[in-house]
């Protein structure tokens, strides 16, 4: 499997570290909403098909990437910088990026 890093170009999958489901929404750090924390830490979409996920180019430029990959064919449909990593529900954080 080759992942095309926006910095480094197409690289072998062994250069990357998988960081899982990119659909999860991290609550604000001070949030006491147990359902939201539980969903963030434990719940996964786990689709058979296109999957929005986070990878780190740990053996290269170390950038975090948002990758859309098909979990049946392993075809990679898009790669981009992840910016804030997992999606944030904190609108101020999104404003800063």
């Amino acid at each position: 499997m080759l992942i095309t890093c926006p910095y480094c170009g197409p690289r072998d999958v062994i250069e990357f570290t998988y960081q899982g489901d990119g659909n999860r929404e991290r609550p604000q750090p001070a949030s006491q909403n147990l359902d939201a924390w539980n969903a963030y830490v434990y719940d996964r979409l786990n689709p058979a098909g296109d999957h929005n996920e986070i990878w780190q180019h740990s053996g290269g430029c170390r950038a975090h990437l948002r990758v859309v990959r098909n979990t049946i064919t392993h075809e990679i449909l898009s790669t981009e910088f992840a910016r804030g990593g997992h999606k944030s529900t904190d609108s101020r954080a999104e404003g800063r990026s």
Binding site: G20, Y42, R44, A48, T71
Partner: protein
């Protein structure tokens, strides 16, 4: 009289082997059942078997989307052990071990259970201390465990490189003598025949495409072979759990599906007569009765529904094998394959009522489901029949993550690819 015996073998040999009955029928599904079990793998079949045998519930259908035993029950590396640290796991897997020890007799089907032991190698003093701790935890709950010296390991497995110049020198190991291997296909076939003879319908090539509901209650399934109603619908679909739960309207689960590869070499004379695990990576090896080395390693490491793996993991597994057995460098690998593992967030399974009324859930076997096959079916059948869990599976709930009652034997946290 038992269907398979020395007498029946002789009688059929004399009459040209024309009178053997198929091990299970190929019935068309009925309109309704007391219980539908989705998934005709090891766990689904053993569930049906124990529903009939232990609870007298025989109006049962097992629905399998492919052919019987086409999933993980035929894709694993056949190891059976109960060498866990945490008491919830130890009690459950030791119950499974006790069922294994009598399984061939119970099923009247030779599952070739071979208690050749399972030896975990330690490569650092800290790891050896950790194994002593785990061994003590096992013995505390009545499970056999022995801490082995390098000399003793050398005598058991002479081909192993235990020299000080090994890449990761062996310092000792934790042995569970009652652990071993079983013939995985025979387990599926034995449970299938046992269930079939008690009246269970095993319906192959019957894929569930949706759930029937009455209000919020699950009342049956729609399938590629029509609608089938049931008072209780039980899921035992392993790596497909997320997909089947989505049909029931539950989009998120504490599960990721990953692919795990397994390998078999060409046949060799006996060289490893135990189940051996490497402590400085993820690698385990045993030898089949045909002589092939059966071995595997770590998950590919990312979500996958492809029942095949990638080359970097093949390379890693071979490197680990050679770190232990330099003498195997020129042995040829015959086959490799992959199976879907339903990895939970704490590495422990889920056997529970619900989460919807009329539904029962058995999943989250990570890559340790084969050894659990008897106890999984036994506990799941109890849970379905009594509408409450047995004490052995009471800790394996779906809401344990929310409630902070996780059972994380490896202490890895909510990162499924590391369990």
């Amino acid at each position: 009289m038992a269907e398979y015996s020395a007498f029946s073998l002789l009688k059929n040999a004399l009459t040209g082997n024309k009178d053997w009955k198929p091990a299970w029928r190929k019935p068309d599904p009925k309109a309704s059942y007391d219980v539908i079990v989705i998934g005709g793998g090891g766990h689904g079949l053993s569930t049906a078997y124990y529903l009939a045998k232990e609870h007298g519930i025989t109006n049962v259908a097992v629905l399998e989307k492919g052919w019987l035993g086409s999933g993980n029950v035929g894709r694993n590396t056949t190891a059976v052990r109960s060498n866990y640290l945490l008491p919830q796991n130890t009690r459950f897997y030791e119950h499974s071990m006790k069922l294994w020890e009598n399984l061939s007799h119970d099923l009247n089907y030779n599952v070739m259970f071979s208690q050749r032991g399972c030896l975990n190698l330690a490569h650092t003093p800290a790891q050896l201390d950790d194994y002593a701790r785990r061994g003590n935890a096992m013995r505390h709950l009545g499970v056999d465990a022995e801490l082995w010296s390098v000399d003793r390991i050398k005598r058991l497995v002479p081909a192993l490189d235990v020299s000080g110049s090994a890449r990761f020198p062996v310092l000792g190991g934790l042995m569970q003598p009652r652990a071993g291997t079983a013939r995985h296909d025979a387990v599926a076939w034995g449970y299938a025949r046992g269930a079939d003879r008690r009246g269970v319908d095993i319906v192959e090539n019957c894929e569930v495409t949706g759930f029937l509901r009455d209000g919020g209650r699950i009342t049956g399934v729609s399938t590629t072979r029509g609608e089938i109603r049931a008072k209780k619908v039980a899921l035992a679909v392993a790596g497909s759990t997320g997909q089947v739960m989505q049909l029931a309207g539950i989009s998120h689960m504490p599960i990721e599906s990953h692919v795990l590869q397994a390998f078999v070499s060409e046949s060799l004379k006996p060289i490893v007569d135990t189940v051996l695990t490497f402590g400085m990576g993820h690698f385990y090896i045993s030898q089949s009765d045909k002589g092939g080395l059966v071995y595997g390693g770590d998950l590919d490491g990312y979500n996958s529904y492809a029942q095949r793996g990638s080359l970097p993991v093949v390379d890693e597994v071979m490197s680990e094998m050679l770190a232990l057995f330099p003498g195997l460098a020129r042995v040829r690998m015959l086959r490799s394959w992959g199976g879907l593992c339903d990895m939970t967030m704490d590495g422990s399974p889920i056997i529970t009522t619900g989460p919807l009324p009329g539904m029962y859930l058995n999943c989250g076997w990570c890559y340790g489901g084969f050894k659990a096959t008897p106890a999984s079916g036994w506990c799941f059948a109890y849970t379905i029949a009594k509408d409450e869990p047995h004490e052995f599976n009471a800790p394996f709930t779906l809401d344990r993550f929310y409630r902070g009652l996780i059972i994380d034997d490896k202490g890895q946290g909510a990162n499924p690819r590391l369990h």
